[in-house]
Amino acid sequence: MNDSNPPLIPPAINVTSAAVPLGESPEDRLPIYGIAAAMEAILRQPRRVMFQLRQSASGRLIWAMLLLTIVCSLIYGVVVGTFSGAQQLWAAPAKIALGMLACGVICLPSLYIFSCLSGSHARFVEVVGLVAGLLLMMTLLLIGFAPVAWIFSQSTESVVAMGVLHIVFWFIAAYFGLRFLALGFRHLSAQTNAGLNVWIVLFVLVCLQMTTALRPLVGTAETFLPREKKFFLTHWFDNLSKETPKRTNNTQASR
């Protein structure tokens, strides 16, 4: 035996792999205490979060994730609000935080039904945890984009340009959030992903419609909530066709 041989490095477990059962790696079993640990775990060790959600005492982790989601939404909302200033500094954070939570609540029952119809043995609380994780992942990534969004909001007058920028950031955040959810769903021993795919489409539509239902998030308006109800695509096309580059006193172009 040659003592100069380096020790074998154990194969790393892919954080996005569903092939390895949860809890197989000792890292998965490490408990998550506190808000900071939850934030770090969801970014670096999502399997650890999924494993903890399966345990009987997962309530504290879920609450921590929801609390973090609210805080991150409020911070990103302030950045969104700096584009117009004044009342938008509190209105935009409130609307974004409430809107994110509302999207989760609206879509949660259908995700649970889809998981059961797919043959999964998941408990309701596990599905709640996965949705909380999705929202947290999204809002954490939005926080990462916040400095970029702030720079742009200080250097442009166009409501449409800022709206498009925020939507692009939202889509990137949603991609990673939904990737977390999809991985978690596979660990629920669902026999098919068809239900999840339908649900993802529903969730994205609900979120996009929420941005229109709670408008203006960027820009200003006379009222806190819109008087006219619109489908989000109609609203987007209306804004694109009559864009007037003003950050305030333009209720029509508000997004």
Binding site: C107, P109, S110, L117, H121, K229, K230, F231
Partner: protein, 233 residues
């Protein structure tokens, strides 16, 4: 399997495990029946409320009552026919078992409807509701969405019912015959009951009512027939 310790909760129903579903129709257990009825009343009630709120809050209350009622009355109205059809198509189920099987499939459908009611409510919240804003496009979009959700709930429930019937009979052919026999009967009666109980959504330019004044004048099939006549003449 210890039948005393077993309960048929909602996830088990939705997963459609044949053995568990079969246990659910083996005999009448008061607790299970109450569970089925409560899911039907709550699930269909929530979906009905979301449907009706497009027109007015009072319509929401009416539809929340009428939708579960339509499902339960259809189950009761066809109970005898369904129990007669099952043995004719090669499936020896007792009367109470056929009622429980249909009730069980209704429970699955209503659970799905209930889960989708927040989504429907959100859609309706974003759709013009007052008469001046209400366009036929908005009304049609609401109708189409509701039909899609109801169709999905119906398909999910009938797939589970078919699995149960197949487990009971051991033959796919006879299970399919029984399912289609029951579906035909339930659709025939259910359509007429819904016709009598209309409105569910509420036409924007008609008043909010529990039943229309002409609820018992004519029937669903006459109306479809005369509509077809108008198209071709």
């Amino acid at each position: 399997m210890n039948s005393n310790a077993m309960t048929l909760d909602l996830p088990v129903l939705l997963r459609g495990e044949p053995k568990s579903l079969h246990w659910g129709i083996e005999e009448v257990r008061a607790r299970q029946v109450v569970f089925y009825l409560s899911i039907i009343v709550v699930g269909a009630g929530c979906f009905g409320a979301a449907m009706g709120c497009w027109r007015a809050p009072l319509q929401a209350a009416y539809t929340a009552l009428k939708l579960p009622l339509a499902i339960l009355l259809t189950t009761l109205g066809n109970a005898l026919l369904n129990s007669l059809l099952a043995p004719l198509f090669g499936l020896n189920l007792r009367f109470q078992q056929t009622v429980l099987a249909v009730l069980l499939s209704g429970t699955i459908a209503c659970a799905v409807l209930g889960a989708f009611s927040p989504l429907l409510l959100f859609m309706i919240w974003n759709t013009p509701t007052n008469v001046s804003q209400a366009t036929s496009a908005a009304y049609n979009a609401v109708q189409v969405t509701e039909v899609l959700i109801i169709a999905f709930a119906g398909i999910a429930a009938n797939i589970r019912l078919l699995q149960l019937l197949q487990h009971c009979s051991g033959q796919r052919a006879s299970a399919l015959k029984v399912l289609f026999g029951w579906l035909a009967g339930n659709l025939f009666l259910g359509s007429q009951l819904c016709w009598i109980m209309r409105p569910f959504i509420g036409t924007p330019d008609l008043p909010v009512q529990f039943f229309r004044p002409n609820a018992f004048h004519g029937n669903f099939y006459e109306t479809v027939w005369s509509s077809l006549g108008r198209i071709f003449n």
